[in-house]
Symmetry: C2
Amino acid sequence: MAYFDAASAAPLHPVARQALLAALDEGWADPARLYREGRRARLLLDAAREAAAECVGCRADELVFTPSGTRAVHSGVAGALAGRRRVGRHLIVSAVEHSSVLHAAEAHEAAEGGSVTRVPVDRTGAVAPEAYAASLREDTALACLQSANHEVGTEQPVSRVAEACRAAGVPLLVDAAQSLGWGRVEGDWSLLTGSAHKWGGPSGVGLLVVRKGVRFAPQGPGDERESGRAPGFENLPAIVAAAASLRAVRAEAAAEAARLRELTERIRSRVPDLVPDVEVVGDPSRRLPGIVTFSCLYVDGETLLHELDRAGFSVSSGSSCTSSTLTPSHVLRAMGVLSEGNVRMSLPPGTPAQEVERFLEVLPGTVAAVREKLGAPAAPETVRAAGPDLVVDALGRRCPVPVIELAKVIGDVPVGGTVRVLSDDEAARLDIPAWCEMRGQEYVGEEPADRGTAYLVRRTS
Amino acid sequence: MAYFDAASAAPLHPVARQALLAALDEGWADPARLYREGRRARLLLDAAREAAAECVGCRADELVFTPSGTRAVHSGVAGALAGRRRVGRHLIVSAVEHSSVLHAAEAHEAAEGGSVTRVPVDRTGAVAPEAYAASLREDTALACLQSANHEVGTEQPVSRVAEACRAAGVPLLVDAAQSLGWGRVEGDWSLLTGSAHKWGGPSGVGLLVVRKGVRFAPQGPGDERESGRAPGFENLPAIVAAAASLRAVRAEAAAEAARLRELTERIRSRVPDLVPDVEVVGDPSRRLPGIVTFSCLYVDGETLLHELDRAGFSVSSGSSCTSSTLTPSHVLRAMGVLSEGNVRMSLPPGTPAQEVERFLEVLPGTVAAVREKLGAPAAPETVRAAGPDLVVDALGRRCPVPVIELAKVIGDVPVGGTVRVLSDDEAARLDIPAWCEMRGQEYVGEEPADRGTAYLVRRTS
């Protein structure tokens, strides 16, 4: 079995397990109590806070532990927005933030006076610092930017965006969930969030850092725990394990990053050679060491995941068929890249090179089998004589069928002729233009149809 | 060492520890994922939910896991209030709810249109079902009542209050944090909350039950986890341990309840014999098996806790000097009982009888030593001739000094004469009337003074 989904949840680091076990015996009592079990718990909590703060690069009294990374984001965004309510109600996020940030933004937008700007990204998934800076307004209360993307691994220009925010007097909240195990977030940020189970710590622990001097007003009912910023009994054994494991993974980070980067580099370069019609997405160099993502034309993501699982590989996917809403991942959409047959591999530290090699051996046959089952065009589309224009009715068919049908008939129209694909599948909106880009055909545009949408493609070669 | 503060946090049950360890290996992956680690995690989560629901007495799809009991309460109250926003914005709580419920009520009161009725309790800490029912209004959106009190152990008349709520069409939320380990909550309640570390499960797990048919609108940013009612990655190992330990403590509950009840009964009856000037509080029979609470006149709670801790006993206290706000516990205040020298003993399951005996041996000397240090009146106050009225200036002195000063001079005024105690200590408001009740003196009332408050006591015997 090879587990390649560390970006969802990393297996527990041995140090985390050890610390958790020790703290179960020493740290179950209430750290707010005066008796010895309580004082011992308080000592453990203080030590964990010091250790975590040292790893983050902040003061201990700027850091609180929350029950999850999601909670840290929700509380952080809400508290920072409320703290600057007088300035205004404008929030900036990038279009490719983690869903927890986007959900917080949606909640803010639904509240009175709340407005949100979503800064677009380029095809690699990165925001342009200038575009981000241009979205800062007089009434901007808060800006959010992830340190690195959780689906494609692309690093964001946090330092430069932080500079622009600082110049405008706007606090920047950095969601560092994916990068915190690898190192501190550079730059002059104001708030930061993280999630222990992403770095090999236990689940049940997030962290929220609010720099001294940042206006912050915790929202919702509170209590006296964690500086009033995270109500509820502290999950102390997990907090102790989270801090200990963060220190441990940091000690191994430099060596492990180099090793994983080599492995993902190999995947990035080999997959397009081994599998036809693949798009590797994300920034080739400014990226996290362990994440690599690619999409396979004419492949249904859910079937591919199942086949890879049967072959012993655990990966995730941003394809629409793997989501409960049947829409492609918002990250892939924002990047404008192919979403069908999408595979995200995120290698946990310690991944052996031979597991990656075995994956590279298995992948081509697996993709080919899925394509065959779907009746995908096996060879490049051949030229066939036909009328100048064609209509493909793919209504009611799900990704990747509309693209497969398009690919099957593009050769039936002459160069200059068009194919009109009727589809009511959300993925088609992303994948038909992406297919055109990959195939060098012209994507003319979309228009409403009687049912669904018509996507117009002109054959150019 | 004897740990007598299970009502704050119970030591981890061996079954919880075992289940946690097993789940660390099997349940770290994301239960929303399709690969085998994810499916395994999903199976564990489903099984834990079934087991917990069986213990609660609800359907599995009515129960979600939250990161703490506090979170369960905050989310439950907010969601239920929002679900019935059209009916009105009136909330009912008892005056002796856990702080998480009271904090949620305060937040609601601060929001637009929110109003709260706090139903008073009698001297045992229980609400009267009739008084509770009388507070139900046309615009009542939600009513909250704990199953049993966390500070004095008194059980609330939940079934009868639930009946009244049902008749009025108002959902009742029961905070069952203290009682869930002992058994199901009887009666026709609508929502229920619990906290695993109160029954010997790990910290980091609460549960929120919303009966089918109850209108519920989760508040704040959400995600697709836990039916949209508890956002953030599930803390699966802790959830598994919580469910397993709830089942385990339930299996032992009947026998253990009988045993603990005998021990707390012994404390209730022996302490007033062994220590002069003690008030045992809470209902003598309708109470949780393991909790017993008493207050000692002329004693400073913090010093008493420290001395007991040095003697090897971990207990908690509702005295003002042990709280960060220097106010007596809201529960003792609502009951109108003495708060100085307050000791709450909450025995964890398995407490050996000899630890209780040792406590009974140690307590009298410890209390006597604290009283001596404070210069408390050692014998009943003797009659001394003096003028008809006296003023005691206890401004700037903290609990229990104002009461000690009062006791020292009451013998200096003739029967029918008065003592006027000047105090700026919050505890005096509760403890001077309580002292009068215990001593058979007449408490006349309070009035504002130049500084602080004047408490008037008439000598009647």
